[in-house]
Symmetry: C2
Subunit: 181 residues, 2 copies
DNA sequence: CGAAGATCGTTGGATATCCTACGATCCATA
DNA sequence: TATGGATCGTAGGATATCCAACGATCTTCG
């Protein structure tokens, strides 16, 4: 989970079916001839934020799907790579997902041989998460997809706007986060 | 669905369950002392887009929750208000949700007396959706929450950046949407 | 007109996610 | 040192959402 609800969520093992189970296909503002009026929504930041995020999620899912891993796995692997030995709770906080949400995800990654869960020596309640060599490899593959995806986003955003856009997103995150609760 | 995907504010009297079932509490970038490193994620648009969207969703859910309606209901009511008589499929396309997702939502709104589902005269397969007077009232209440919410977002984004920010979001939506599949 | 295909809304199956509860473990304090 | 409270990861319960399949209806075309 690095991504939010759906932008980047992981998918899970869907060898059985290749549909992404959670990738909406929104085709909202395209206009086309769908002359549906959005009224108030038309000028609302929140609504557009949602649509942009979902579209980004779908696009990334499409890319990363080819590797058998889902968007959510990417953030998970990145954070473990960057913080070897961290706990599941800490990982959840970092990627924005509840620890209970990570349980099945980590179990899967472990079974695939991409991560290890060793009981922490100092605290036997928690696990020390690390990537296996295979995990590092999977991360590299996903990172390539992520880079290509962000390149697409950069292209749409425009090089000259990227910094300001990212900065604005960070302000929103920080500002709303603190209000949290 | 105007908003993302979760917000489910507690209702009063929710004997069965009182938890909000879908409002993450992410506290990711705040830093605090959570010295978790995000590595690649740190400079990725997609990741920040997800966090910003989720934070916005949670904030809106908190506001609208007091009215007993959830974020998703807002977009639903707005679009029906703006396009009286439209079908469930058209509504879904407008708000970015699958028609099957709307079935239970519309059933609920109908039972609460906020909308009407009349069989379309020209096509008996579909329903013609309209708001009841009570629905118009509920919409007005939600609109007030939405306005306050967007005011918060505007404040964080900054008046001078708002237009450019919204424009960028629209470019992302349009650009990624067309790539869709 | 009549059959094939498309579309509408519902149902069923699957995934992702949250929150609460719980046993195990750790820590602070009496 | 014992006890209570906090925290870790898991299990359960609930919601939101998607896609596929289905019956009903519409449309198109022979």
């Amino acid at each position: 989970m690095a991504q939010p609800s759906r932008a980047n969520p992981p998918r899970a093992t869907n060898q059985t079916k290749a549909r992404s189970s959670q990738a909406p296909a929104l085709r909202v503002l395209s206009g086309g001839q769908g002359r549906i009026r959005l009224g108030l929504l038309n000028d609302t930041l929140g609504f557009h934020l949602r649509l942009a995020q979902e579209a980004s999620f779908v696009a990334f899912a499409r890319r990363s799907g080819t590797s058998g891993l889902k968007p959510g796995h990417f953030a998970t692997l990145v954070v473990i790579h960057e913080n070897p030995g961290l706990s599941q709770t800490a990982l959840g906080a970092a990627v924005g997902r509840d620890k209970s949400t990570l349980t099945p995800r980590l179990t899967e990654l472990e079974q695939r041989g991409l991560i290890r869960r060793d009981r922490a020596a100092t605290d036997r309640r928690s696990y020390a998460l690390t990537l296996t060599p295979a995990g590092e490899g999977a991360l590299a593959a996903l990172a390539a997809h992520a880079a290509a995806h962000d390149a697409d986003l950069d292209r749409l955003v425009g090089a000259e706007n990227r910094a300001a856009f990212l900065d604005t997103l960070r302000r929103l995150i920080a500002g709303l986060e603190s209000d949290d609760r």
